[in-house]
C-alpha cells in the first residue's frame, strides 16, 4: 500500500526536523526519501524522480535556490521550501526561481500536510490546465470567453484586471510572486513597478471580494506575492 503512494524527497540538514517530517509524511501514506545536503538532494531527485520536494533553504553545502534552479531545468514537480519568517529575500528568490510554496519555521505538521496535498493536487491537474470556468465564492470566471459574474450578475473587468485574475487563477493555491505577476501581466519592463500590482489588486478585490480588507480568495502573502485560494 505504502509503496503505491506518491514519493516525496525531503532535503533538510537537521536530522530532528527530517525525522519529524518523515514520520508525519509516512503516517499520511507517502513514500519518503531523505537528503542532508544539496548535492545529495540533486542525486536523489535525479534517481528517484520524486512527485514533490520539501527543501530547506539553509543547506550547509549550497544555496537552496541553486537546487531549485537546477531541478527546474528538467522537472516541473512541486517544490515546497522551508524558511525563516525573517528571510523574505531568500524566500522570494526561491519562489521566483520556481518553488511553489513555502513554510515558515517553526511550522506545524498539519499545515505541512495540507501544503503537500495542495501541491500534489496542482501537479496532477496542471497538464490539462485548460479549465473553461473557475468558481470561487459567489464568483464565476469564464476563462475562455473572458467574462466574470458575481452572484449571477456580470462584473466588468478591464483587460489588465482580467489578465491579472487569470494569472492567479492559473495556479490555484500556489504563491505567485510580485515579479512573476508583473512580468506575466504587464511585461518584463514592469517587474520593478510594484505599485501597478497594488493598484490593480485593489480593484480586483473591490469587485470580487465580499470584504476587500479581509480577502478570502485573493490572499496577500506579504512581501512575497499573492495566492489564489479557491
Amino acid at each position: 500500500m505504502t509503496e503505491q503512494g506518491p514519493q516525496i524527497l525531503v532535503i533538510e540538514d537537521d536530522q530532528a526536523i527530517r525525522g519529524v517530517i518523515r514520520s508525519t509524511l509516512e503516517g499520511a501514506g507517502y513514500r519518503v526519501a531523505e537528503a542532508g545536503n544539496c548535492a545529495r538532494g540533486l542525486v536523489e531527485a535525479g534517481t528517484r524522480k520524486p512527485d514533490l520536494v520539501i527543501l530547506d533553504l539553509g543547506l550547509p553545502d549550497r544555496d537552496g535556490v541553486e537546487f531549485i534552479r537546477e531541478m527546474r531545468s528538467w522537472s516541473t514537480k512541486p517544490i515546497i521550501v522551508l524558511s525563516a519568517r525573517t528571510e523574505e529575500e531568500q524566500k522570494v528568490a526561491a519562489l521566483d526561481e520556481g518553488a511553489d510554496d513555502y513554510l515558515a519555521k517553526p511550522f506545524g505538521v498539519a499545515e505541512m500536510l495540507a501544503r503537500v496535498r495542495a501541491g500534489l493536487r496542482r501537479a496532477v491537474r496542471s497538464p490539462d490546465s485548460e479549465v473553461a470556468t473557475v468558481t470561487f465564492g459567489d464568483v464565476t470566471v469564464d476563462v475562455v470567453n473572458r467574462t466574470v459574474s458575481r452572484a449571477g450578475a456580470p462584473v466588468h473587468l478591464t483587460v489588465v484586471e482580467f489578465r491579472l485574475l487569470a494569472a492567479l487563477l492559473a495556479h490555484p493555491g500556489k504563491i505567485v510572486t510580485h515579479r512573476q505577476l508583473l512580468r506575466e501581466v504587464w511585461g518584463p519592463a514592469y517587474v520593478e513597478h510594484g505599485h501597478y500590482l497594488r493598484v490593480y489588486m485593489g480593484h480586483l478585490r473591490q469587485k470580487l471580494e465580499a470584504l476587500p480588507t479581509r480577502p478570502r480568495h485573493l490572499v496577500t502573502e506579504t512581501g512575497v506575492g499573492y495566492r489564489f485560494v479557491p
Binding site: 503516517g27 517553526p106 498539519a110 483587460v159 505599485h195 480588507t213
Partner: protein
Amino acid sequence: MHGASSAAGVGSAPANAADARKGGAVLACVGPDTGDEVLHAAARLAGAMGTPWHAVYVETPALARLPDERREAILRRLKSAEDLGATTATVAAQEPAEAVVEHARARHATTLVMGLRPHDTDRRVRFGRGLGERVSAQAPTLVLVRVPAAGDAAAPRRARGEPGPTVRWSRYAWALAICAVATAVAALLFPYLDLANIVMVFLLGVVLAAIRLGRGPAITAVVISVLCFDVFFVPPYFSLAVSNVQYLVTFGVMLVVGVTIAELTARLRYQARVSAYREERAANLFALGRELSGALTTDQVVKKSVPIVEATFRARADVLACHDSGTLAVDEGRARAFDRALAELALGRGEPVGIGSAERPDAPALYMPLKAPMRTRGVLVVRPENPRLLRIPEQRRLVETIATLVAIALERIHYVKVAQQTLLGMESERLRSSLLGALSHDIRTPLTALVGLAETLSMRVATAAPEAAREADQIRDQARRIGQLVENLLEMARLQGGAVKLNHGWQSIEELVGSAIESLGSALDGRPIETDVPATLPLVWCDAVLIERVLANLLENASKYTPPASRIAIAAKEAGDEIVVTVSDEGPGVPRGQEQTIFGKFQRGERESAIPGVGLGLAIARAIVEAHRGRISVENRRDARGEVVGAAFSFTLPLESVPPVEPESAADEADIDFAQPRRGGAPA
C-alpha cells in the same frame, strides 16, 4: 623676419579666423603711463563687440627697475582691469611689442587698445619707435586702437628730482678701481706696446666693468678710461689736449662697446633672474604636489604645505582645515599671524579676502579659500613680507593653484576617511546580521523539531489518550511562544542596530491591514474586527513586512489587554502629507502617565500580570514606525461622560508622491467583449 611670422600667425590661425568673424577678443596694454581711459575704452569695446577682454602688462628690464611705488601703481591698474571684467597677465619680456603680439595671438585677440600720449608721436620715446608702430609692423592684421590720455593726473609721470632706482655708488667705485688697474697695467706695458694695443687694455677694463657693474659704471669707466688714456699715454702727456682727432674714434668705439655690453648683460641677467624665479616656482609646485600626494592625514597636509608656501612667497603662512562640521580648525596653541574673523569670512563666502581682493584689500595677509570640487575645505593664509607680491596676477594665480592643490589633498583625505568608515560600518553590520541570522537559525531548528514532534504526538494519541493529546498541544503552543519570543528579541536587536535596511516598496494599507489580521488568526479569539480603510487611500512607500508587523503587534496588544469578544477597530485616513492608522480597542485603556513608557522595551501596562509577553511588541512597533520617519502614540478613548472606554494606538507614515500608473489604452479596452458596456464603477 620674426615680425613677419608673428603677423602671419595672427592673421591666419584657424581659431583666430573664427574669432575674427565674431570679432575676437580685445587686449589692453597696461604700462607705467596707462590711464583708466585705456581700460574703460577696452571694456566698452569688448562690451560692444560681445567678446571677452584681456589686459597685459609687459615688464621689461627697464620697467622692473622702476621704484616700488610706480610698480604698485601698475599692479593697481591691472587690478582695476580685472574689476572691469578683464583677464589679466603680467609677462616678463625684453621686447614689449613682440610680447604683446605673442599674447594677443595666444588669447585670440584681434583688437589692441593702448594709450596715446603726446610724446608717443615724438621719436625720442623710450622704445625708439613707438610701441604701437612696432606692434603694427609685427602683426598688421591687429586692429590698433590708441586712446589719448585724459590728462596727466590719471598717471603722473615721474616728477623731476624724484628719486630713480637706487644708485649703487660702490659699483662706480669699482669702475674707478678697474680704470686705475687698467692705467697701471697700461703704464707697465707702455714701453713695449703700440698705442693701439694700449687702448685694448682700457677696452678690456671697460668690457669687464660693463659685464660686472652695469650700464652706469660702464659709461663712467669709458669716460675715465679715455681720459686716462689721453692724459697718460697720448702726447702731449699729462694734458687733455687732443693732438690727434683719431682718439675721438677710440672714445666712440669704447663708449659703444661698453654700453652695448652693459645692456646685453643686463638683459641676460634679467632673463636669467626671471627664469630662475620661474624654475623655483615650478620646483616649489612640484615639491608641493609630491609632498601632498604622500600625505595621509589633514595634519600632514598642513605640515607639508605650510613651509613650501612660506618659502615660495617669502611669507608666513598657515593652512586652516575645516572640521567635518564645516567650521575652521584653529589651533589656539599656535600664535599665528592671521585674523580668524577674516578667515571665517573667506570660508563663508568662498572668495579670497585680504591683499588684492575685493574684501579688505588693506589687510596684511591674504585669505584664500581652499575650494575643492565638492566643497570648501579650509582657508590658506599667506602673510608676505611684501604685500605687493600678492597683487601681481601671476603670484595671485600661484596662490590659487597652491590653494587648489591643498584643497584637493584635503578632500582626498576626507573621502579616504569616509570610505574607511563606510567599510568599517559595512563590516560590523555584516557581522551583526550574520550573528543574528545564525542565532535565529540555531534556535529555530530545535523549536521546529519540538513543534513537529508535539503535534505528531498529539495526533497519534488523539483517540487513545485525549488528556495526553491536550498536553502535547500545550507543549506545541509553548514551543511556538518561545519561538515568537526569540524572534521578537532578535527583531528588536536588528532594529536597534540603527541601520535597519528597509525593503521599501509601494504598499496598500488596505492589503497590509488584511494580512495582519490574517496573520494573527486564532490569537484574536474571535474578537470582531472592524476595518475602515478607504479604497481610495494612496499607496505608501514602506517595508510591507515590517508595517504588517506593526499592525499585527498593535492588534495582538489589543487582544491581550481587552476582554474576550470586545471589538477592535482599525481605521486609516489621509491627513495632510501623511497617513494615520489607528487601532482602537474596548479595553481598560492605558494607565495615566504611561503613554510614552508603554513603547519602551520590556514595558507592560500592568506589572506581573498573567498576560503573556515580555512587552517587546510595542517597542518593536515604535522602532519600525520611526525607521519609516513616522510617529506612534496612544491615547485613551473616552465616552460622553469622560469615562475611559478603551485605548487608541495611532501611527503615521509619511506620504510621498506615487508614481503614475499608465491608464489602459483604448485599444486594450476595445478588444474585450464587455459583459456590460459601461465600466463597473471602479476607479481607473
